[in-house]
Protein backbone atom coordinates (compact mmCIF):
# COMPACT_ATOMS: atom_id res chain seq x y z
CA UNK A 1 0.00 0.00 0.00
CA UNK A 2 1.31 3.37 -1.01
CA UNK A 3 0.66 5.03 2.35
CA UNK A 4 2.90 2.60 4.23
CA UNK A 5 5.52 2.74 1.51
CA UNK A 6 5.66 6.48 1.78
CA UNK A 7 5.72 6.28 5.56
CA UNK A 8 8.65 3.86 5.44
CA UNK A 9 10.60 5.71 2.79
CA UNK A 10 10.25 9.13 4.42
CA UNK A 11 10.54 8.22 8.06
CA UNK A 12 14.13 9.39 8.60
CA UNK A 13 13.27 12.81 7.12
CA UNK A 14 10.11 13.12 9.14
CA UNK A 15 11.72 12.09 12.42
CA UNK A 16 14.26 14.90 11.97
CA UNK A 17 11.45 17.22 10.94
CA UNK A 18 9.34 16.25 13.95
CA UNK A 19 12.21 17.11 16.25
CA UNK A 20 12.45 20.53 14.58
CA UNK A 21 8.69 21.06 14.94
CA UNK A 22 8.91 20.22 18.62
CA UNK A 23 11.86 22.56 19.10
CA UNK A 24 10.38 25.52 17.30
CA UNK A 25 7.02 25.01 19.03
CA UNK A 26 8.52 24.60 22.50
CA UNK A 27 10.75 27.65 22.04
CA UNK A 28 7.82 29.74 20.86
CA UNK A 29 5.55 28.60 23.67
CA UNK A 30 8.11 29.25 26.40
CA UNK A 31 8.65 32.77 25.08
CA UNK A 32 4.89 33.07 24.54
CA UNK A 33 4.19 32.25 28.19
CA UNK A 34 6.57 35.04 29.29
CA UNK A 35 4.97 37.47 26.86
CA UNK A 36 1.54 36.36 28.06
CA UNK A 37 2.41 36.86 31.70
CA UNK A 38 3.86 40.34 31.12
CA UNK A 39 0.94 41.53 29.02
CA UNK A 40 -1.59 39.98 31.43
CA UNK A 41 -0.09 42.25 34.10
CA UNK A 42 -0.34 45.16 31.68
CA UNK A 43 -4.01 44.36 31.19
CA UNK A 44 -4.92 44.14 34.87
CA UNK A 45 -2.75 47.11 35.81
CA UNK A 46 -4.43 50.39 36.70
CA UNK A 47 -2.17 52.25 34.26
CA UNK A 48 -4.03 53.35 31.16
CA UNK A 49 -0.82 53.41 29.16
CA UNK A 50 -0.05 49.75 29.94
CA UNK A 51 -3.68 48.75 29.28
CA UNK A 52 -3.46 50.55 25.94
CA UNK A 53 -0.20 48.83 24.93
CA UNK A 54 -1.66 45.42 25.76
CA UNK A 55 -4.89 46.14 23.91
CA UNK A 56 -3.09 47.31 20.75
CA UNK A 57 -0.92 44.19 20.79
CA UNK A 58 -3.85 41.81 21.26
CA UNK A 59 -5.99 43.59 18.67
CA UNK A 60 -3.29 43.43 15.98
CA UNK A 61 -2.36 39.82 16.65
CA UNK A 62 -5.91 38.55 16.86
CA UNK A 63 -6.98 40.64 13.91
CA UNK A 64 -4.43 39.44 11.36
CA UNK A 65 -3.58 35.98 9.98
CA UNK A 66 -0.60 34.18 11.47
CA UNK A 67 0.97 33.70 8.04
CA UNK A 68 0.95 37.49 7.54
CA UNK A 69 2.59 37.98 10.94
CA UNK A 70 5.30 35.44 10.16
CA UNK A 71 6.04 36.99 6.76
CA UNK A 72 6.07 40.54 8.09
CA UNK A 73 8.38 39.55 10.91
CA UNK A 74 10.65 37.47 8.68
CA UNK A 75 11.03 40.02 5.91
CA UNK A 76 10.93 42.96 8.34
CA UNK A 77 13.53 41.75 10.78
CA UNK A 78 15.68 40.45 7.95
CA UNK A 79 16.53 44.06 7.13
CA UNK A 80 17.57 44.91 10.70
CA UNK A 81 19.26 41.79 12.00
CA UNK A 82 20.08 38.59 10.20
CA UNK A 83 17.66 36.31 12.01
CA UNK A 84 17.78 32.62 11.16
CA UNK A 85 14.64 30.98 9.85
CA UNK A 86 14.35 29.10 13.13
CA UNK A 87 14.37 32.25 15.25
CA UNK A 88 12.16 34.21 12.89
CA UNK A 89 9.68 31.36 13.02
CA UNK A 90 9.92 30.82 16.75
CA UNK A 91 9.56 34.54 17.49
CA UNK A 92 6.65 34.92 15.11
CA UNK A 93 4.85 32.03 16.75
CA UNK A 94 5.76 33.33 20.22
CA UNK A 95 4.33 36.78 19.53
CA UNK A 96 1.21 35.19 18.07
CA UNK A 97 0.63 32.71 20.88
CA UNK A 98 1.57 35.34 23.46
CA UNK A 99 -1.57 37.33 22.65
CA UNK A 100 -3.82 34.36 23.33
CA UNK A 101 -1.84 33.35 26.41
CA UNK A 102 -2.21 36.93 27.69
CA UNK A 103 -5.97 36.51 27.68
CA UNK A 104 -5.72 33.10 29.36
CA UNK A 105 -3.62 34.51 32.23
CA UNK A 106 -5.71 37.65 32.54
CA UNK A 107 -8.84 35.52 32.84
CA UNK A 108 -7.47 33.09 35.40
CA UNK A 109 -5.80 35.79 37.51
CA UNK A 110 -9.07 37.72 37.62
CA UNK A 111 -11.00 34.55 38.44
CA UNK A 112 -9.21 34.22 41.79
CA UNK A 113 -11.49 35.43 44.58
CA UNK A 114 -10.82 39.05 45.62
CA UNK A 115 -10.66 37.89 49.23
CA UNK A 116 -7.36 36.12 48.51
CA UNK A 117 -5.60 39.38 47.67
CA UNK A 118 -7.27 41.14 50.61
CA UNK A 119 -6.21 38.43 53.04
CA UNK A 120 -2.65 38.55 51.72
CA UNK A 121 -2.49 42.35 51.94
CA UNK A 122 -4.02 42.31 55.42
CA UNK A 123 -1.06 40.18 56.52
CA UNK A 124 1.33 42.88 55.38
CA UNK A 125 2.26 41.41 52.00
CA UNK A 126 3.13 43.78 49.19
CA UNK A 127 1.10 43.56 45.97
CA UNK A 128 3.88 41.71 44.17
CA UNK A 129 4.58 39.29 46.99
CA UNK A 130 0.85 38.53 47.21
CA UNK A 131 0.76 37.97 43.45
CA UNK A 132 3.76 35.67 43.51
CA UNK A 133 2.89 33.64 46.60
CA UNK A 134 -0.91 33.65 46.65
CA UNK A 135 -2.59 34.66 43.38
CA UNK A 136 -0.31 33.28 40.63
CA UNK A 137 0.03 29.72 42.00
CA UNK A 138 -3.75 29.44 42.00
CA UNK A 139 -4.12 31.19 38.66
CA UNK A 140 -1.51 28.95 36.99
CA UNK A 141 -3.35 25.88 38.12
CA UNK A 142 -6.58 27.14 36.61
CA UNK A 143 -4.68 28.10 33.45
CA UNK A 144 -3.46 24.58 32.73
CA UNK A 145 -6.46 23.35 30.71
CA UNK A 146 -6.75 26.42 28.46
CA UNK A 147 -2.94 26.62 28.15
CA UNK A 148 -2.81 22.97 27.10
CA UNK A 149 -5.37 23.78 24.47
CA UNK A 150 -3.40 26.80 23.26
CA UNK A 151 -0.21 24.71 23.13
CA UNK A 152 -1.93 22.23 20.83
CA UNK A 153 -3.09 25.06 18.57
CA UNK A 154 0.45 26.48 18.67
CA UNK A 155 1.94 23.17 17.67
CA UNK A 156 -0.30 22.84 14.63
CA UNK A 157 0.15 26.51 13.70
CA UNK A 158 3.90 25.95 13.64
CA UNK A 159 3.34 24.28 10.24
CA UNK A 160 3.18 27.77 8.73
CA UNK A 161 6.89 28.37 9.30
CA UNK A 162 7.41 25.98 6.40
CA UNK A 163 6.71 28.99 4.21
CA UNK A 164 9.77 30.84 5.47
CA UNK A 165 11.91 27.90 4.51
CA UNK A 166 11.93 25.69 7.58
CA UNK A 167 12.05 21.95 7.07
CA UNK A 168 9.83 21.03 9.97
CA UNK A 169 7.03 18.50 9.46
CA UNK A 170 5.01 20.50 6.96
CA UNK A 171 8.05 21.84 5.15
CA UNK A 172 9.32 18.28 4.78
CA UNK A 173 5.91 17.16 3.55
CA UNK A 174 5.90 19.85 0.85
CA UNK A 175 9.33 18.93 -0.48
CA UNK A 176 8.81 15.14 -0.25
CA UNK A 177 5.47 15.38 -2.01
CA UNK A 178 6.96 17.51 -4.75
CA UNK A 179 9.77 15.01 -5.23
CA UNK A 180 7.73 11.80 -5.20
CA UNK A 181 4.46 13.25 -6.51
CA UNK A 182 2.66 11.01 -4.00
CA UNK A 183 0.70 13.99 -2.69
CA UNK A 184 -2.11 12.39 -0.76
CA UNK A 185 0.02 9.79 1.03
CA UNK A 186 2.80 12.22 1.93
CA UNK A 187 0.41 14.81 3.36
CA UNK A 188 -1.47 12.11 5.30
CA UNK A 189 1.81 10.86 6.75
CA UNK A 190 2.65 14.45 7.82
CA UNK A 191 -0.73 14.65 9.56
CA UNK A 192 0.05 11.42 11.38
CA UNK A 193 3.16 12.93 12.98
CA UNK A 194 1.20 15.93 14.25
CA UNK A 195 -1.49 13.62 15.60
CA UNK A 196 1.02 11.53 17.55
CA UNK A 197 2.63 14.58 19.17
CA UNK A 198 -0.76 16.04 20.08
CA UNK A 199 -1.94 12.76 21.60
CA UNK A 200 1.19 12.36 23.71
CA UNK A 201 0.96 15.97 24.83
CA UNK A 202 -2.74 15.72 25.70
CA UNK A 203 -2.02 12.66 27.79
CA UNK A 204 0.71 14.49 29.72
CA UNK A 205 -1.57 17.48 30.36
CA UNK A 206 -4.36 15.30 31.69
CA UNK A 207 -1.92 13.52 33.97
CA UNK A 208 -0.72 16.87 35.28
CA UNK A 209 -4.30 18.06 35.86
CA UNK A 210 -5.13 14.92 37.79
CA UNK A 211 -2.05 15.22 39.93
CA UNK A 212 -2.78 18.83 40.80
CA UNK A 213 -6.40 17.96 41.49
CA UNK A 214 -5.41 15.77 44.42
CA UNK A 215 -5.14 18.92 46.46
CA UNK A 216 -8.56 20.39 45.89
CA UNK A 217 -8.75 23.85 44.46
CA UNK A 218 -11.27 25.59 46.68
CA UNK A 219 -10.83 26.88 50.20
Amino acid sequence: MELFEVFWETKSFFVTATWLTIRVTATSLIIGVFIGLIFAFFKISSSRLLNGIANVYITIIRGTPLIVQIFVLYYGIYKLVALSGFWAGALGLAIHNGAYITEIFRGTIQSIDKGQMEAARSLGMSYFLAMRRIILPQAFKRAIPPLGNQFIIGLKDSSLVAYIGMNEIWGTALSEAAASLKMLSTYAVAGFYYLVIVMIFSYLVSRLEKRLDVEKSRG
Binding site: D113, G115, Q116, E118, A119, A120, R121, S122, L123, G124, M125, S126, L129, R133, I134, P137, Q138, K141, E215, K216, S217, R218, G219
Partner: protein
Protein backbone atom coordinates in the same frame (compact mmCIF):
# COMPACT_ATOMS: atom_id res chain seq x y z
CA UNK B 1 -4.53 53.05 69.98
CA UNK B 2 -6.71 53.86 66.98
CA UNK B 3 -8.37 57.20 66.61
CA UNK B 4 -10.57 58.11 63.68
CA UNK B 5 -11.73 61.67 63.09
CA UNK B 6 -14.37 62.90 60.65
CA UNK B 7 -13.95 59.93 58.36
CA UNK B 8 -15.84 60.08 55.08
CA UNK B 9 -16.05 57.39 52.46
CA UNK B 10 -17.90 57.24 49.17
CA UNK B 11 -18.57 54.34 46.83
CA UNK B 12 -19.26 56.32 43.66
CA UNK B 13 -22.27 58.48 44.52
CA UNK B 14 -23.03 56.53 47.67
CA UNK B 15 -21.91 58.23 50.87
CA UNK B 16 -21.21 55.21 53.08
CA UNK B 17 -19.36 56.80 56.01
CA UNK B 18 -20.40 60.24 57.19
CA UNK B 19 -18.10 62.19 59.53
CA UNK B 20 -17.36 59.14 61.63
CA UNK B 21 -15.43 59.69 64.89
CA UNK B 22 -14.26 56.48 66.43
CA UNK B 23 -11.79 55.40 69.12
CA UNK B 24 -10.28 52.15 70.23
CA UNK B 25 -8.11 52.05 73.34
CA UNK B 26 -5.48 49.48 74.11
CA UNK B 27 -6.83 46.15 75.40
CA UNK B 28 -10.35 47.23 74.57
CA UNK B 29 -12.94 45.07 72.80
CA UNK B 30 -15.13 47.28 70.63
CA UNK B 31 -18.15 45.71 68.95
CA UNK B 32 -19.73 47.40 65.94
CA UNK B 33 -23.39 46.63 65.39
CA UNK B 34 -26.04 47.93 63.03
CA UNK B 35 -28.23 46.96 60.11
CA UNK B 36 -26.75 45.68 56.84
CA UNK B 37 -25.41 48.56 54.78
CA UNK B 38 -24.94 50.80 57.80
CA UNK B 39 -21.21 51.09 57.05
CA UNK B 40 -19.74 49.01 59.87
CA UNK B 41 -17.71 46.68 57.63
CA UNK B 42 -16.50 49.62 55.57
CA UNK B 43 -15.37 51.41 58.73
CA UNK B 44 -13.50 48.28 59.80
CA UNK B 45 -11.86 47.92 56.38
CA UNK B 46 -10.75 51.57 56.50
CA UNK B 47 -8.82 50.79 59.69
CA UNK B 48 -6.33 48.59 57.83
CA UNK B 49 -6.63 50.52 54.58
CA UNK B 50 -8.29 47.78 52.54
CA UNK B 51 -10.65 50.67 51.81
CA UNK B 52 -9.17 54.13 51.40
CA UNK B 53 -10.84 57.02 53.16
CA UNK B 54 -11.97 59.98 51.07
CA UNK B 55 -11.46 62.46 53.88
CA UNK B 56 -10.78 62.55 57.60
CA UNK B 57 -7.87 61.38 59.74
CA UNK B 58 -6.82 58.01 61.02
CA UNK B 59 -4.27 57.88 63.85
CA UNK B 60 -2.64 54.62 64.84
CA UNK B 61 -0.62 54.71 68.06
CA UNK B 62 -0.80 58.47 67.95
CA UNK B 63 0.59 58.72 64.44
CA UNK B 64 -1.44 60.22 61.61
CA UNK B 65 -1.52 57.72 58.76
CA UNK B 66 -1.64 59.19 55.27
CA UNK B 67 -1.81 56.26 52.82
CA UNK B 68 0.31 57.90 50.14
CA UNK B 69 3.10 58.86 52.54
CA UNK B 70 3.67 55.69 54.54
CA UNK B 71 4.31 52.04 53.86
CA UNK B 72 0.88 50.54 54.44
CA UNK B 73 2.34 47.04 54.40
CA UNK B 74 4.22 47.86 57.60
CA UNK B 75 1.03 49.12 59.22
CA UNK B 76 -0.97 46.10 58.17
CA UNK B 77 1.62 43.80 59.72
CA UNK B 78 0.42 45.05 63.09
CA UNK B 79 -3.29 44.96 62.32
CA UNK B 80 -4.68 41.44 62.03
CA UNK B 81 -7.88 40.82 60.12
CA UNK B 82 -10.36 37.97 60.09
CA UNK B 83 -12.84 37.88 57.22
CA UNK B 84 -16.41 36.65 56.90
CA UNK B 85 -15.41 34.18 54.20
CA UNK B 86 -12.16 33.07 55.89
CA UNK B 87 -10.03 33.64 52.77
CA UNK B 88 -7.60 30.89 53.64
CA UNK B 89 -5.05 30.14 50.91
CA UNK B 90 -6.44 26.97 49.32
CA UNK B 91 -3.14 25.87 47.76
CA UNK B 92 -1.45 25.67 51.16
CA UNK B 93 -2.13 23.44 54.11
CA UNK B 94 -3.09 24.81 57.51
CA UNK B 95 0.46 25.11 58.79
CA UNK B 96 1.64 26.77 55.57
CA UNK B 97 -1.24 29.25 55.80
CA UNK B 98 -0.16 30.23 59.29
CA UNK B 99 3.60 30.55 58.61
CA UNK B 100 3.25 32.25 55.21
CA UNK B 101 3.35 35.84 56.39
CA UNK B 102 5.83 35.40 59.28
CA UNK B 103 8.29 33.71 56.92
CA UNK B 104 7.81 35.82 53.79
CA UNK B 105 6.89 39.20 55.28
CA UNK B 106 8.63 39.26 58.65
CA UNK B 107 11.41 36.99 57.37
CA UNK B 108 11.62 35.01 60.57
CA UNK B 109 13.30 31.63 60.57
CA UNK B 110 11.04 28.93 59.17
CA UNK B 111 11.56 26.47 62.02
CA UNK B 112 10.82 29.19 64.53
CA UNK B 113 7.68 30.11 62.56
CA UNK B 114 6.54 26.49 62.56
CA UNK B 115 7.02 26.27 66.30
CA UNK B 116 4.98 29.43 66.87
CA UNK B 117 2.33 28.28 64.39
CA UNK B 118 1.88 25.01 66.22
CA UNK B 119 1.40 26.87 69.49
CA UNK B 120 -1.21 29.07 67.85
CA UNK B 121 -3.00 26.09 66.32
CA UNK B 122 -3.07 24.47 69.72
CA UNK B 123 -4.57 27.62 71.14
CA UNK B 124 -7.46 27.47 68.66
CA UNK B 125 -7.78 23.71 69.13
CA UNK B 126 -6.52 22.62 65.71
CA UNK B 127 -3.07 21.20 66.38
CA UNK B 128 -4.12 17.92 64.74
CA UNK B 129 -5.12 19.71 61.49
CA UNK B 130 -1.72 21.22 60.68
CA UNK B 131 -1.27 19.10 57.55
CA UNK B 132 -4.88 19.39 56.32
CA UNK B 133 -5.87 21.53 53.35
CA UNK B 134 -8.57 24.17 53.84
CA UNK B 135 -11.02 22.28 51.61
CA UNK B 136 -11.04 19.46 54.16
CA UNK B 137 -12.02 21.70 57.08
CA UNK B 138 -15.43 22.78 58.37
CA UNK B 139 -16.29 26.47 58.33
CA UNK B 140 -15.64 26.79 62.03
CA UNK B 141 -12.25 25.16 61.67
CA UNK B 142 -11.38 27.40 58.73
CA UNK B 143 -12.22 30.48 60.71
CA UNK B 144 -10.11 29.34 63.65
CA UNK B 145 -7.20 28.78 61.26
CA UNK B 146 -7.79 32.29 59.91
CA UNK B 147 -7.57 33.64 63.45
CA UNK B 148 -4.32 31.73 64.05
CA UNK B 149 -2.95 33.01 60.72
CA UNK B 150 -3.66 36.62 61.69
CA UNK B 151 -2.20 36.12 65.18
CA UNK B 152 0.99 34.68 63.72
CA UNK B 153 2.05 38.20 62.77
CA UNK B 154 1.76 39.17 66.46
CA UNK B 155 -0.53 42.10 65.71
CA UNK B 156 -1.30 44.84 68.23
CA UNK B 157 -4.94 44.80 67.22
CA UNK B 158 -7.34 42.33 65.61
CA UNK B 159 -10.21 43.27 63.32
CA UNK B 160 -13.08 40.81 62.83
CA UNK B 161 -15.44 41.35 59.90
CA UNK B 162 -18.58 39.31 60.65
CA UNK B 163 -16.47 36.26 61.52
CA UNK B 164 -19.43 33.98 62.21
CA UNK B 165 -21.91 35.15 59.55
CA UNK B 166 -20.97 32.51 56.99
CA UNK B 167 -21.03 29.63 59.47
CA UNK B 168 -23.62 26.98 60.12
CA UNK B 169 -25.27 27.75 63.48
CA UNK B 170 -23.70 24.79 65.27
CA UNK B 171 -20.20 26.02 64.33
CA UNK B 172 -20.58 29.58 65.61
CA UNK B 173 -19.79 28.67 69.22
CA UNK B 174 -16.27 27.37 68.59
CA UNK B 175 -15.25 30.54 66.76
CA UNK B 176 -16.76 32.80 69.42
CA UNK B 177 -14.93 30.80 72.06
CA UNK B 178 -11.60 31.39 70.31
CA UNK B 179 -12.40 35.11 70.16
CA UNK B 180 -13.36 35.19 73.83
CA UNK B 181 -10.09 33.55 74.80
CA UNK B 182 -8.25 36.17 72.79
CA UNK B 183 -10.18 39.00 74.42
CA UNK B 184 -9.45 37.62 77.88
CA UNK B 185 -5.73 37.62 77.06
CA UNK B 186 -6.03 41.36 76.58
CA UNK B 187 -5.97 41.57 72.77
CA UNK B 188 -7.31 44.84 71.41
CA UNK B 189 -10.22 43.89 69.16
CA UNK B 190 -12.73 45.55 66.86
CA UNK B 191 -15.53 43.18 65.96
CA UNK B 192 -18.33 43.63 63.44
CA UNK B 193 -20.94 41.06 64.33
CA UNK B 194 -24.59 40.17 64.60
CA UNK B 195 -23.86 38.01 67.67
CA UNK B 196 -25.47 40.13 70.35
CA UNK B 197 -24.58 37.57 73.01
CA UNK B 198 -20.89 38.08 72.27
CA UNK B 199 -21.31 41.86 72.34
CA UNK B 200 -23.11 41.76 75.65
CA UNK B 201 -20.62 39.41 77.28
CA UNK B 202 -17.28 40.58 75.89
CA UNK B 203 -17.56 44.16 74.67
CA UNK B 204 -16.04 47.03 76.60
CA UNK B 205 -17.81 49.33 74.20
CA UNK B 206 -20.66 48.81 71.76
CA UNK B 207 -20.90 51.15 68.78
CA UNK B 208 -24.18 51.34 66.88
CA UNK B 209 -24.10 52.45 63.25
CA UNK B 210 -26.94 53.50 61.01
CA UNK B 211 -26.77 54.87 57.48
CA UNK B 212 -23.07 55.66 57.63
CA UNK B 213 -23.14 57.37 61.03
CA UNK B 214 -22.38 56.30 64.56
CA UNK B 215 -25.67 56.95 66.28
CA UNK B 216 -24.90 55.66 69.73
CA UNK B 217 -22.05 54.16 71.70
CA UNK B 218 -21.43 53.03 75.24
CA UNK B 219 -20.97 50.03 77.45
CA UNK B 220 -23.10 47.02 76.53
CA UNK B 221 -25.29 47.33 79.60
CA UNK B 222 -26.28 50.84 78.57
CA UNK B 223 -26.81 49.99 74.89
CA UNK B 224 -28.79 46.80 75.35
CA UNK B 225 -30.85 47.74 78.41
CA UNK B 226 -31.35 51.40 77.93
CA UNK B 227 -30.77 52.54 74.34
CA UNK B 228 -31.41 56.23 73.82
CA UNK B 229 -31.64 56.55 70.07
CA UNK B 230 -34.99 55.42 68.59
CA UNK B 231 -33.13 53.78 65.68
CA UNK B 232 -31.01 51.77 68.10
CA UNK B 233 -34.19 50.72 69.85
CA UNK B 234 -35.71 49.69 66.55
CA UNK B 235 -32.61 47.75 65.45
CA UNK B 236 -32.28 45.93 68.75
CA UNK B 237 -35.96 45.01 68.82
CA UNK B 238 -35.41 43.31 65.45
CA UNK B 239 -32.33 41.30 66.39
CA UNK B 240 -32.91 40.41 70.05
Amino acid sequence: MIEVQKLNKYFGELHVLKDVDFNVNEREVVVLIGASGSGKSTLLRCLNFLEMKDSGSIYINGELIEPDQVNLNKIRENVGMVFQHFNLFPHMNVLENVIEAPVHVKKIDKNEAIKQAKDLLQKVGLEDKAEAYPSHLSGGQKQRVAIARALAMKPDIMLFDEPTSALDPELVGEVLQAMKNLAREGMTMVVVTHEMGFAREMADKVVVMDQGRIIEEGDPEHIFSNPQNPRTQQFLSQVL
